[in-house]
Symmetry: C2
DNA sequence: ATATAATATGCATAAAGTTGCATAGTCAAA
DNA sequence: TTTGACTATGCAACTTTATGCATATTATAT
């Protein structure tokens, strides 16, 4: 019952099709929540049944028809309820850390390689986040309340990447990939 | 196909029962992987069918009988295969950050309260991690390779808690809970 | 002409995870 | 003596997430 809320959050700004949502979950919102198009279409179906969305088929020139979804007042109410409800923490699951427990009896090279790859990915992601921050969230204190919220999510993303890059440094050094 | 590998990782050190595993997933290994006892018993059943474990019923004085599970060579091989295989990254899913996108049209107090609670939890967790580090992983460079791996997982946990505590500070200040 | 990429939606199945329920023995405290 | 806590295992139903397959239109490049 959480993908639906992420979808509704995206629909707050503007009406979107399943395809649009899939793209959005690949970018921006997707920094903190990911979903495949299959999952999105399934969830949209359920949300329609619950009356949280209203569909609108749009004919397009040069493209297949699409179905735009808009939040209904019931959907809005469900979203508001969720936001102020208790956040159940998902149990942190990190394959890489569990794998590290096994490094003594396996070839460590593949793991070291993965850590190096990750560091590069994090660096790219961090650059993107920093660009967004500079362009749109330069002075957080002056933002309206809703933009402050989005800024904080972005800030969490930035901190996460930075933290992880530093950890990769430590790991690569300790495992002898550098030294 | 990952809980099974976390279970086998725990069984590397010593034979354990489902109950033991549930406790372990509530501590130590559980810092990076969590599972309920129901899930563990289900998974153990599947792993037996696959021949990854061998069971051994142990009668106990003053306690119900328990079933100790040991890794078979097939299990060990499956674990080794997994460790050197590509790590598929789980999509980061953080309800709290998605909720932050909605802070403009809801009462912000519940969210602020949750951030404050989280910060306290993180502080407690961090203290625990630091204690473990001081006691068992004081000089990481001098550790054997397998203990280096465990240390790195611990280090990731420490960095994560520290990072999150700092973020909570920023969030609470920006949302006016302090200032 | 034909292949490829982008747009657009969906079904079926499987794996993973959650929640509620059920059972049963031992021990200590009230 | 009964209540609660700890040890110990498990089923059933459900939700959530993932994976593979399937289809159809249009635009662009070869």
């Amino acid at each position: 019952m959480a993908l639906s809320h992420a979808i509704m959050t995206a629909l707050l700004e503007e009406d979107l099709s399943g395809y649009d949502l899939a793209k959005k979950f690949d970018m921006s919102l997707g920094f903190f929540w990911q979903a495949s198009h299959q999952q999105i279409y399934q969830e949209l179906k359920k949300m329609l049944e619950r009356g949280w969305l209203s569909p609108d088929t749009v004919e397009q020139a040069g493209k297949p028809n699409k179905i735009l979804y808009a939040l209904t007042s019931e959907g809005k109410a469900a979203l508001d309820d969720w936001v102020v409800s208790e956040t159940k923490s998902r149990s942190a699951k990190e394959d890489l850390y569990v794998k590290l427990y096994n490094i003594g009896h396996c070839d460590p090279e593949p793991l070291i390689g993965e850590i190096a790859d990750r560091q590069l990915q994090c660096q790219r992601q961090l650059e993107l986040y920093l660009k967004i921050k500079d362009r749109h969230y330069g002075e957080p204190e002056t933002l309206a309340i809703n933009r402050k919220g989005i800024y904080l999510a972005l800030s969490a993303g930035i901190r996460q990447q930075q933290m992880h890059i530093e950890w990769c440094d430590e790991a690569l050094e300790l495992l002898g990939a550098i030294a």
